[in-house]
């Protein structure tokens, strides 16, 4: 697995550059102009305020899933299940706002809270299995994704299906339950501000509280954690609860702020994006924000890229996959690279020394 040692901002930037470069080759091999394609991508994501708004509204759930994964990893759990946690949280929020008729000030916080708890419990399940029965969380969280996706799909196709809809979905939510929009005419909403607030809170938790201290110390070294008296089992479950909860809120924001209903397959892989984002951010809560915005731009821009240049929007998936590939490759590569660089410097030193000796003789 990628260890902390190799995850640095530089690794992420290098990986991204390589990924974009290889992406360009792929575009060129398909007979398109990579510069035009990337130009269209940037234009579609940052060129105007509405474009920027759509980038940021995609970034919002990504920040939540990215944070969710980061918290879990810091607690020493490899959470591959953010996608499932997002689905469960989103579904819970949808049901709350459909069945609770109350003013915004009540119904929105209530829905977000319930989404947090449901997502959190869904994340805590594999954590409990891990500490009680030593089950590998990579396997369980991964499998729970499919259960969540299919379960919510069942719910919106049978018990909660709205009549005459082409695919499974709930009815549209009340206006009172919709998240206030920040830029009129778009769906860019206050969820983004909540995401930033969440990142700040998580960063503060790890940096300042003794709870956060225990969580990260035992995440780094379990035996040491136990030796100094940390209840590691408890911290692992709590870490996954918080992580799952954050992903769940991400789902709630998709429902309350973007789709205004729960549709089957509501997320195009935001949970998995969250994994990439967390890894690129080296599990640092603040770093999750800009990286999520970047990924939001990739998703938002790739659509206009497809429209304008014919390069399929799936390219953004290719680039993401390449980023992960290059990050993993670097875990062995960076050390070699650093070695090379310092060796170059060393050779120069040696040459200088030799020259000096020659001169002095």
């Amino acid at each position: 697995m990628l260890t902390k040692k190799y995850l640095t901002p530089i690794t992420s930037v290098i990986a991204l550059i390589f990924a974009l470069f290889v992406g360009a080759i792929v575009i060129a091999l398909n007979g398109n102009n990579p510069i035009a394609a990337y130009g269209a991508l940037i234009e579609g994501s940052f060129s105007s305020i509405p474009h920027l708004a759509s980038t940021l509204s995609i970034a919002t759930p990504l920040i939540f899933t990215g944070l969710g994964v980061a918290v879990a990893f810091k607690a020493g759990v490899a959470n591959i299940g953010a996608e499932g946690q997002l689905y469960m949280g989103g579904m819970a929020a949808a049901l709350i706002v459909i069945y609770v008729d109350a003013p915004s000030i009540i119904v929105i916080p209530l829905a977000l809270l319930v989404a947090f708890i449901v997502g959190g419990l869904y994340g805590a399940v594999p954590a409990v299995l891990k500490v009680k029965t030593n089950t590998n969380e990579v396997v369980t969280t991964l499998m729970l994704n499919y259960i969540a996706i299919l379960f919510t799909s069942y719910l919106v196709n049978y018990p909660f299906k709205v009549a005459n809809a082409p695919i499974g979905m709930t009815e549209t939510i009340n206006d009172a339950a919709k998240l206030p929009v920040l830029y009129p005419g778009t769906r860019f909403n206050i969820g983004f501000l909540l995401a930033i607030l969440a990142a700040v809170l998580i960063a503060l938790m790890f940096k300042h509280t003794s709870f956060g201290y225990e969580m990260r110390i035992q995440g780094e070294s379990k035996v040491f954690g136990r030796y100094i008296g940390i209840n590691t089992d408890k911290r692992i479950v709590q870490g996954m609860f918080i992580g799952g909860g954050l992903a769940g809120v991400g789902g709630a924001i998709l429902v309350l702020g973007i789709q205004y209903k729960f549709v089957q397959s509501i997320s195009p892989g935001y949970g998995f994006d969250g994994l990439t984002i967390a890894l690129m951010a080296a599990f640092n809560a603040y770093a999750v924000i800009p990286i999520s915005v970047l990924f939001g731009a990739l998703r938002a821009g790739s659509i206009s890229m497809e429209l304008n240049t014919g390069v399929p929007s799936e390219l953004s998936n290719v680039i993401q996959a390449l980023v992960i590939l290059f990050m993993a490759a670097q875990s062995t590569f960076t050390s070699t690279l650093q070695d090379r660089i310092s060796k170059l410097g060393f050779r120069k030193e040696q040459r200088k020394l030799n020259e000096k000796e020659v001169q002095s003789e």
């Binding site: 902390k4 040692k5 300042h208 509280t209 003794s210 709870f211 201290y213 225990e214 990260r216 110390i217 780094e220 070294s221 035996v223 040491f224 954690g225 136990r226 030796y227 100094i228 008296g229 940390i230 209840n231 070695d339 310092s342 060796k343 060393f346 050779r347 030193e349 040696q350 020394l353």
Partner: protein, 519 residues
């Protein structure tokens, strides 16, 4: 000039800095072909760094290396191995789930005609190598089942199997029992006879005088000179190392009024996961102002005893009473409010090496109200001041408390644990190998601190394999052999030889083994 002696290794004007820390300053270091050469120096003097440079792990900032008179640029360990250099690091680098032979042959396994690993040939090869060098191992045993001493043999064999003619050993004796030490030295002598050159780092001056031909002293990154064994003595070496003549006044032990035991262990037994009994009916008590030592050869239940006292291992029977309270069922956190614990393995159980020095120093107090403010937040102002103070008092050599613990020298990492645990102010201290890897001065400092705690009325349990340490500071010695206490001895008039006999089970005290509790 001195062309007559043939130097196999010459390191000339080597400098190495890590950021602002200069670990080596114009170090000159020469090793004669076929000798045993010791490097000594205080913790953080730059010994490991120098050897890492020789082995190609680190690149020097400046300087030149010659092997057999030829200048080489040591760019990687592979290059060093090609040049016939082998190194056994302070922390071993073995794959625990692999067998001994697999570890030794990793990377150059013998192949059969299908191109797959020829296991039989591999085991035969390791068997032969083991016999030839005198390092006895079982090639088919898994490394995770081996004691530290045996793991070290595997490391040495690994180096030899790659054709090492120059063998670097970084503090090999720190983890060995006296007996294992003697075995190692015998092997080293044998290797010397076979024409190999050995470079050994150690903190024990007695060992240096016993085994080395020449001795190089490092101090604060600089060479203080190379001396021949016959031309020097322990005192001179110590004063060169520390830059002053060590003036060790005898430890000042104050007798304390007899009173109720602070720590009482009754009938303690522990079974391992597969039901084998590891500790059998251990009984002892420690009164205030007393140091009780558990002596023994590693692997006779000491680690399990430590873990049982900490609450890390469940007891199969028995009672633990601390300060009059039954803590048998308490969790680790509660126990730590009575007892301080210094575990033996600093790299896994004693420290989180990837965390900062500060974070390691505050482990344990982070959850106490005195060190918190606001909503259960750690009071960083206070903890940082504390970290600074501890770094100062325990002279921990570090580039500040925010630095990653990994970058400290071995001995300085050990000091972090000591500083943390001794600072709690608990009345009971349970320590395992507290001076492992410390230089003479630092070890002395720790002994003084332990005695100071004793004089102030603390009860101390010392688990140690270091005979000198045991005889120096104990009030009572209990010898642990195969999970049982086989002897209770007083250090007065006890010779190391006799203690050794008890430790290896050659001698048992009658009452020690006859104590049987009907239950």
């Amino acid at each position: 000039m001195e062309k007559k002696t043939k130097y196999i290794v010459e390191m000339i004007d080597i400098s190495k800095s890590f950021g602002s820390v200069q670990a080596n300053k114009n170090v000159n270091f020469k090793v004669i072909d076929g000798e045993i050469h010791a490097i000594i120096g205080e913790n953080g003097a730059g010994k490991t760094t120098l050897m890492n440079i020789l082995f190609g792990v680190l690149l020097p900032t400046a300087g030149e290396i010659r092997i057999n008179g030829e200048t080489v640029v040591m760019t990687s360990p592979n290059k060093a191995i090609q040049l016939g250099i082998g190194m056994v690091h302070q922390h071993f680098e073995l794959v625990p789930s692999f067998t001994v032979a697999e570890n030794i042959c990793m990377g150059h396994e013998p192949r059969n005609k299908f191109g797959t690993v020829d296991k039989q040939q591999m085991y035969n090869y390791v068997q032969q190598l083991s016999e030839k060098s005198g390092l006895k191992v079982d090639p088919e045993e898994r490394v995770e089942k081996l004691s530290v001493g045996l793991r070290q043999r595997v490391e040495i064999l690994k180096a030899l199997s790659r054709g090492a003619e120059i063998l670097i050993l970084d503090e090999p004796t720190a983890v060995l029992t006296p007996l294992e030490c003697q075995e190692l030295f015998a092997v080293l002598h044998k290797m010397k006879k076979q024409g190999k050159t050995i470079i050994i780092i150690t903190h024990k001056l007695r060992e240096v005088m016993e085994i080395a031909d020449n001795i190089t002293v490092l101090s604060r990154g600089e060479t203080k000179g190379t001396l021949h064994k016959n031309e020097t003595n322990e005192l001179e070496l110590a004063s060169l190392m520390m830059g002053k003549t060590p003036n060790f006044v005898p430890l000042n032990k104050n007798p304390i009024k007899e009173s109720e035991p602070l720590l009482l262990i009754e009938n303690l037994s522990v079974h391992n996961a597969v039901g084998k009994q590891i500790l059998k009916n251990i009984n002892f008590d420690v009164r205030p102002g007393k140091i009780l030592t558990i002596a023994g050869v590693e692997g006779n239940g000491q680690s399990e005893l430590f873990d049982a006292l900490l609450g890390f291992l469940p007891l199969s029977s028995g009672l633990i009473i601390a300060e009059g309270k039954d803590i048998t069922d308490s969790n680790i956190k509660d126990r730590r409010s009575f007892c301080s614990y210094i575990p033996e393995d600093r790299s896994t159980t004693g420290l989180d090496l990837s965390a900062s020095v500060h974070d390691n120093l505050i482990a344990g107090i982070h959850c106490l109200e005195d060190w918190q403010r606001g909503p259960r937040c750690i009071d960083y102002k206070k903890t940082c001041t504390l970290a600074e103070e501890l770094i100062e008092t325990y002279s921990i050599k570090t580039d500040g408390y925010e630095i990653e613990t990994n970058s400290l020298s071995g001995g300085n990492q050990q000091k972090i644990i000591l500083a943390r645990e001794m600072n709690f102010g608990n009345k009971i201290l349970i320590c395992a190998q507290p001076t492992r890897g410390l230089d003479v001065g630092a070890a002395r400092f720790v002994h003084e601190r332990i005695i100071e705690m004793k004089n102030s009325g603390c009860a101390i349990v010392l688990i140690s394999t270091d005979l000198d340490e045991v005889l120096l500071i104990s009030d009572v010695i209990k010898v642990l052999f195969e999970g049982e206490i086989v002897a209770t001895l007083s250090p007065e008039g006890l010779s190391p030889e006799e203690l050794g006999l008890y430790m290896t089970g050659a001698k048992k005290m009658k009452e020690g083994i006859r104590i049987e509790y009907a239950n």
